[in-house]
């Protein structure tokens, strides 16, 4: 036995002996059963308290949990591994830096499609009827000066046929004429139109604030019109998104992108590639969620692009 081997054995066995001391041999064989049962009951009680007593989970989580969003961070990490997100966004997902988006775009966009509590029918027929009625009520062409625009907005009438839900106040079916050139942002097929629909993931009747255009993953998304990139970000609903501000307070929104190729503040021209089609956020497949707004008011994009396809 060489000196090296001796040292190795001594160290290894010494360590092993030390470890053995920390391995607790269970001397109370019989009461192991009892202790296990007691701990199972206590554990179940803790779980039940959290699940069934309202407020317990939230209070405990608040004091021990804080406001870090681990689920979003881990999901972001997984997407980063798959190559669909940038690694640094994991941190922003963790600390919830997207909170700033909420104040900018208002609650509606950040929370995704709002589902109303519809007590009547919730089949596609009803959604289509409601859309038909909306278009009839609000079909019209008119030049609306921006400063009077908010007064021109009429809430969706809650008549007998429209259902019991309230209209989203910030939606308008009005056709606001744009005094600039614009074009469709993506070559693809419209898979979901503006207005009421059955949400593809939640399967509930909800309002769709834009149009979905399906296209192969990675396809170029181009700017709707000349403008400035207003905001680039990520949240768990819309994945990678960006806003472009155009003339007269018109804003276009592009969601679920696999990547964004521009930075905030960058000037872009109509037709210039700004992002690539992806499936980030709540999405069932690669598509672009496209919205057009006038300030805080959400307009129907199919009045401007993809008309006839919706």
């Amino acid at each position: 036995m060489t000196g090296g081997e001796f040292l190795y054995r001594a160290t290894y066995e010494g360590k092993r002996a030390k470890r053995r001391g920390t391995v607790k041999k269970d001397q109370h064989g019989g009461s192991l059963m009892v202790r296990t049962m007691i701990c199972m009951v206590l554990g179940a009680a803790l779980w039940a308290a959290g699940t069934f007593i309202p407020g317990v989970k939230e209070t405990a989580a608040k004091y021990i949990g804080g406001s870090l969003d681990y689920r979003a961070a881990f999901s972001a990490a997984g997407e980063a591994i798959a190559g669909e997100r940038r690694a640094k966004e994991v941190w922003s997902a963790l600390v919830g830096e997207d909170e700033t988006v909420d104040t900018y775009v208002g609650e509606i966009a950040a929370s995704g499609d709002i589902t109303y509590s519809v007590t009547t029918l919730d089949d596609e027929q009803t959604a289509e009827q409601m859309n038909e009625k909306a278009r009839e009520e609000y079909a019209g062409i008119g030049m609306v000066p921006p400063e009077e625009y908010s007064e021109q907005l009429l809430p969706f009438p809650a008549g007998e046929n429209a259902g019991e839900e309230d209209a989203p106040d910030t939606v308008s079916y009005d056709y606001l004429v744009f005094e600039f050139d614009y074009e469709q942002p993506l070559e693809g097929t419209v898979t979901s139109g503006f207005g009421y629909r059955i949400h593809p993931v939640t399967k509930k009747l909800s309002f769709h604030y834009g149009i979905d255009i399906g296209a192969p993953m990675g396809s170029d998304i181009t700017a709707f019109a000349d403008g400035t990139v207003e905001l680039v970000g990520y949240n768990s609903t819309y994945g990678n998104y960006l806003f472009i501000r155009h003339r007269d307070g018109i804003i276009s929104f592009y969601g679920h992108c696999s990547s964004i190729d521009v930075c905030e503040g960058q000037l872009v021209k109509m037709g210039e590639a700004v992002a690539a089609v992806g499936s980030t956020g709540i999405s069932t497949g690669p598509h672009l969620h496209f919205e057009v707004r006038s300030g805080d008011t959400i307009l129907d994009p199919s009045l401007y692009v993809y008309s006839g396809e919706v």
Binding site: L46, G50, G65, G66, D69, R71, F74, A76, G78, A82
Partner: protein, 199 residues
């Protein structure tokens, strides 16, 4: 004892606490990721000629007890690293599966597994990375160099600092996640009943 898996009573308390607090639904992913991590260790133990005796799960984490007949520091390092490697492989597979199938939950699984693997690589005595490093030092130097102790100290402090920083940013939740990750992976590979080492 269920087959090779032993569950200590304290585990149920810990499980109750974590279930009570798990508002995010991360726990199932953590369990699956942890299981694959342990599977990596167990596979490596088999391949190194050892015999996996049992997996003891308690509130403090998972311990693997193995009978290592052919022991060497190199094999010990390999066995330690097998856990993070398995976690990394599982993360890549899950991420690819998520991209292919569009099933969002797989992204969460991939992220948790990657975090588990990376966390275990930290050079801290209790974690896989630290143990592998120690085994390699023993193999190369025949002893634990002072550098090793320094590395342990640096990373241990850094980890604590990171926990405190995250706590100041978003509340006291990082300890929870460290606990959750460590509980499944802060394991101690113990060998029992080892016969004579033939180097």
């Amino acid at each position: 004892m269920i087959g090779h898996i032993e569950i200590a009573p304290s585990f149920f308390i810990a499980a109750g606490v974590v279930l009570m607090l798990d508002v995010d639904g991360i726990l199932p992913a953590a369990f699956i990721a942890g299981a694959f991590h342990e599977l990596g260790h167990i596979t490596a133990i088999h391949l190194c000629g050892g015999q996996f005796e049992r997996l003891r799960v308690s509130a403090a984490g998972a311990e693997i007890h193995a009978n290592m007949r052919l022991c060497s520091y190199l094999r010990e390092a390999v066995i330690c690293m097998a856990g993070p490697v398995a976690s990394a492989l599982f993360a890549v597979v899950a991420a690819a599966g998520a991209a292919a199938s569009g099933w969002e939950a797989l992204y969460l699984l991939a992220g948790v597994s990657a975090a588990l693997g990376l966390f275990n690589l930290l050079p801290i005595p209790a974690l896989d990375g630290g143990m592998a490093l120690r085994a390699l030092c023993m193999r190369v130097f025949g002893r634990e160099p002072v550098v090793l102790k320094v590395v342990y100290l640096i990373f241990g402090t850094a980890l604590l600092g990171l926990g405190l920083y995250a706590a100041s940013v978003g509340g006291f939740s990082l300890p929870l996640i460290i606990f959750a990750a460590g509980a499944l992976a802060g394991e101690h590979l113990q060998d029992c009943g080892k016969t004579e080492c033939s180097v």
